[in-house]
C-alpha cells in the first residue's frame, strides 16, 4: 500500500488479487474500490475477474431440478428391478447347473465303484487262471501219474 496516498497502486491490486480467495474477491475491499475508480485498466481486469467468479458462484449454488431428480429416482428403480430379475435368473441357472453336476458326479462315482468291483473279480479270476496255468504247465504232475 502506498502510505502517502493511502490507496493501492496497480501492482498492489494484483498482489491482493493473487492472495485472496474467491469469496473475498467477490466481497470486495474499500481500498480496491478506490483504486479501480481511478484506474481504467485495473477496473476492467478486476471487473472481469468478478464476472467470472460470479458465474462460478452461481453454478456453485445451483441445484438439480425437481424434474431431473425424479427422473434419476425412476431410472434407479428401473435399473434396480432389472438387476433383481437378472439376479434371480442367474440363481436359477446356477441351481440347474448344480443339479446337473450332482447327478453327473453321482453317475461317475457309481460307475467308478462298479469298475473297481469288476476289476477285483477279474483279478481273482486272473489269479485262478494263473495258478491253473502254472499247474497245467508243470509237467511233473503228469510224470507222477505214469510213475
Amino acid at each position: 500500500m502506498n502510505e502517502n496516498k493511502l490507496i493501492m497502486d496497480c501492482k498492489e491490486l494484483k498482489i491482493w488479487v493473487d492472495r485472496v480467495n474467491e469469496d473475498e474477491l467477490l466481497l470486495g475491499n474499500a481500498n480496491v474500490q478506490t483504486h479501480i475508480n481511478e484506474c481504467e485498466s485495473c477496473s476492467l481486469y478486476y471487473k472481469g475477474l468478478l464476472d467470472s467468479y460470479s458465474i462460478m458462484k452461481t453454478q456453485r449454488e445451483s441445484s438439480l431440478s425437481k424434474q431431473m431428480s425424479a427422473q434419476i429416482i425412476n431410472k434407479l428403480q428401473e435399473v434396480n428391478s432389472t438387476h433383481r430379475v437378472d439376479t434371480r435368473k442367474t440363481l436359477f441357472v446356477l441351481s440347474r447347473i448344480a443339479a446337473v453336476l450332482v447327478v453327473s458326479i453321482g453317475m461317475l462315482t457309481g460307475g467308478l465303484i462298479g469298475e473297481v468291483i469288476n476289476k477285483e473279480k477279474e483279478d481273482d479270476s486272473a489269479a485262478w487262471q494263473t495258478e491253473f496255468s502254472l499247474l497245467a504247465d508243470d509237467g511233473e504232475s503228469d510224470l507222477y501219474l505214469f510213475d
Binding site: 467470472s52 462460478m56 453454478q59 441445484s63 429416482i73
Partner: protein, 180 residues
C-alpha cells in the same frame, strides 16, 4: 440410521434407501459435474450415471470413506471420462454455436464470459482442477478434499494456490483481449 444399515439397505435395493441416497447427495454430485463440464444438460446426465454406477457397485463399497466421499469420487471420474470422450465435440463448441451450451437467456457478453470461465477451468491441469472444484464448488475443507483425493493437505494447499493463480491469469488474458 447407522451407515452400515443404510448401505445394507442399498445393497438389497431398498427403494426408500435409494430415494434418500439421491435426495441427500444429488446437488453436490451435480455441482461437481457442472464444475467440470460447464454445461447443465451434460452435468445432469452424468449425475444420473453416477447414481446408476453407485447402485451397480454398492456391493463393492468397503466403507473406508463416507458414502458422500465415494459419490464425489465417482462424479469426478465420470466427468473426466466425459470430457475425454467428448474432446472433439467440445472443441467445436468453443469455435461455433454458443446456444448449444445452455438454454438460459443470457446476453452475448454473459455467454462470452461463461465460455471464458469454461475454457479457463478446462485448461487447469487435472490435479489443480480437482482440488479447485472440490474447494470452491463444494466448499470442502482441506481435510475433506484429502479424503476424496488421497492427496496430502500440504499438496492441496499448493495445488489450490497454483489453480487460483492460473485461473486468474487465464481470465485476465481473456478480459484484456475483450476490452482492448
Amino acid at each position: 440410521m447407522s451407515k452400515d444399515i443404510f448401505i445394507e439397505q442399498l445393497q438389497r435395493g431398498d427403494q426408500i434407501a435409494l430415494t434418500r441416497l439421491v435426495e441427500d447427495n444429488q446437488d453436490n454430485v451435480y455441482r461437481t459435474c457442472l464444475a467440470y463440464v460447464q454445461n447443465e444438460h451434460d452435468a445432469a446426465d452424468i449425475t444420473q450415471n453416477v447414481f446408476i454406477n453407485v447402485l451397480e457397485k454398492v456391493g463393492q463399497f468397503k466403507g473406508e470413506a463416507t458414502l458422500s466421499t465415494w459419490l464425489i469420487r465417482i462424479a469426478i471420474n465420470l466427468s473426466i471420462n466425459f470430457l475425454r470422450d467428448n474432446k472433439k465435440r467440445l472443441k467445436q463448441l468453443d469455435v461455433t454455436d454458443l446456444q448449444m451450451e445452455s438454454d438460459d437467456n443470457s446476453d452475448d457478453s454473459q455467454k462470452e464470459a461463461k465460455r471464458a470461465v469454461r475454457n479457463a477451468i478446462y485448461s487447469l491441469p487435472d490435479k489443480q482442477k480437482k482440488v479447485f472444484v472440490l474447494h470452491f464448488y463444494l466448499k470442502l475443507s482441506y481435510k475433506d478434499i484429502a479424503s476424496v483425493t488421497n492427496y496430502s493437505v500440504s499438496s492441496i494447499e499448493s495445488l489450490l494456490f497454483r489453480a487460483r493463480k492460473k485461473l486468474r491469469s487465464l481470465l485476465q488474458g481473456y478480459y484484456q483481449t475483450v476490452n482492448s
